[in-house]
Symmetry: C2
């Protein structure tokens, strides 16, 4: 992404703008600020596809009345360490943080907490939720299912979303380990980027609409599909497929949401599933108190050593050696907190479109 | 694996033989039967590398006094939904099932149960434990760390084991979904198989001792290493690396076991780690009561539908369509329960060697 193409906005200007969009549709002040916080977290961490770049989709869904701006989130069922929530078709950016807090509360009482959620919508980056757990000195887990885009091994149609898994482990003096990964070989954002640049994509990322391997990003965007992590059977794509199924079942079958190919699409122009098998999409959150297993200080000292030992791995020829999970996002955040968020022209255009339609000003960069 | 090369043994003959080996070293009757049950489960399910083929390694470790045949497994710490166990350096095949039962007991009381274990040894196939959870109508999780064999992305030395993850979900009329996968691109057994057959291996499986990509299985066996699921950075190997780290931290850092490159080797001839950072290797088990989240019957009916919908996926050209996780192992089990367990000559030779050394007869096939 060339610097020349982008315009850089201050974090606070974008946060203010996003908050006001949500407020415009009747979302409460607290929920609007919460929703904006999740989006800005993605932008800060360099996950551009999941930040304010998605604001236009949320805007459309709210405008069409497809999302409830004032959800009454209900606990459907609970035990000492679990709960199932009905998100009342609220923003995932609001329902997700609420469910995640509930998982953390359960962990405080019972050692761990596990919350499955139905009747919800896209919740932003899974990493947001595990970072919140870190703030509370907990090991956090987050998963969600999403619109169908990934083919099972030996299948020629999309049946699963890119179904991400996030988990984070705190350290003491070293940075925490923060894992946040789609279970597909690659995120759709990278295919969109190749299309924009006019470059081909590596084999192993996706297939065309007929289920044939392709290196043309257009084939994927026009009715094609992504491949599971592992890319092909020989290199373990059945494992990526298994992980996608795991996320789908924990998030959606366990909560009573739509699963697999019936998952509600995020974007209005996408095809509506042939039938409904549950309510909305599904998330799954977990929180584990470290001292439910081991002395928390001992754990964090070991994690410090873990990080140091892995950084000292002998480098592969031509590289500077391994990173730790979460390094790239943390580095992006350090830069962007100082310098602001660079947005592509297409994203700026989308934001200006919203601004014009509902009369909320977007502070242009200086 | 050609039929001509193998000899087929009855399940009961192998079970009896394995049990008597463990008894010989002072393992109790109950524990010996338990350990043999884990090994035979692997053989029945077609995971030949983890069944009686490993008996010789257990035999050597017991003979050298490296494993405690009469462990006093201790609960170090616990909460309503968690426990940490010290396996007292017992057989993983004995400590693992005990820890797994504890996870299931916690789930009965608190909705879910999570048990991290240190001071243990290799526990057989992760799938065994989640099958036990299924017998109790629970969703089961199992993970373990293991001897270093996998390089982190951009690393040129093995730092992680093949660190498997297993999870299983029950259905009603359809078979359950049973996931059991190494977090490396491929299991070492497949490299050994290629070496035996004299064939090359696909790119993306491993590297030689210098960290260079190789298609020669000998390069991997002689000081080389495996690659994480995803194979290379472009196709998501950082995700396989993340999963390997996740399993390592949950199993070993959380329990106080050895992690990463310090994980105790399973085979005596393997290099001893440069230092010790904990006790033995580590496992992590989980159990979730379905009705802690949703009506169990409703869940299982949806899982039936899930299985049917995924089986009906449009097939990739040249294939008969997707499998469900657990299909190949279940099919192997159906055949082997009837026809017995085919063993390669090298495995039979190992068993006869044990038989001769300690005077326990091995019933030859008819």
């Amino acid at each position: 992404m060339g610097q020349a193409e982008t315009k850089t906005f201050s974090v606070e200007a974008l946060r203010e703008f996003a908050t006001r969009i949500f407020l415009h549709f009747g979302v409460s002040q607290q929920d609007a600020a919460q929703a904006a916080d999740v989006l800005l977290c993605a932008d800060l961490r360099g996950i551009d596809s999941h930040g304010v770049a998605r604001l236009h989709s949320y805007f459309e869904l709210l405008q069409e009345g497809k999302i409830n701006p004032r959800p009454q989130v209900k606990v459907i069922r609970s035990t000492a360490s679990t709960a199932t929530l009905d998100g009342d078709n609220g923003l995932g950016l609001v329902v997700g943080p609420q469910a995640n807090r509930m998982a953390m509360d359960l962990a405080e009482k019972s050692g761990t907490g596990w919350v499955s959620v139905c009747a919800t919508n896209h919740f932003g980056i899974a990493g947001y939720y595990v970072l919140k757990a870190l703030e509370n000195d907990l090991i956090g887990w987050a998963m969600t299912n999403s619109t169908k885009l990934v083919a099972p091994v030996w299948g020629a149609e999309p049946m699963l979303g890119t179904n991400p898994i996030a988990i984070a482990f705190p350290a003491k003096d070293e940075p925490p380990i923060v894992i946040d990964m789609a279970t597909s070989a690659v995120a759709l954002g990278k295919v969109e980027m190749a299309l924009r640049k006019g470059t081909s994509i590596p084999t192993g990322w996706g297939m065309d609409r007929e289920g044939r391997s392709t290196t043309d990003p257009e084939d994927i965007m026009k009715g094609g599909m992504l491949l599971p992590l592992g890319s092909d059977r020989e290199r373990g794509a059945h494992k990526g497929y298994c992980l996608g199924v795991m996320v789908d079942v924990l998030s959606a079958v366990l909560s009573g949401a739509n699963w697999g190919p019936f998952t509600v699409p995020f974007v209005l122009r996408n095809q509506i599933p042939s039938r409904s098998v549950g309510k909305g999409i599904g998330h799954f959150f977990g929180a584990m108190r470290i001292d439910a297993f081991i002395d928390a200080d001992e754990f964090k000292s070991q994690m410090d050593e873990y990080v140091r030992v892995f950084r000292a791995t002998r480098p592969e020829p031509g590289t500077s050696g391994p990173l730790l999970p979460g390094d790239p996002e943390r580095e992006a955040e350090q830069v962007r907190r100082k310098e602001g968020i660079p947005l592509l022209p297409a994203v700026v255009k989308d934001l200006l479109d919203i601004s014009e339609k509902i009369g909320v000003p977007l502070s242009e960069p200086h």
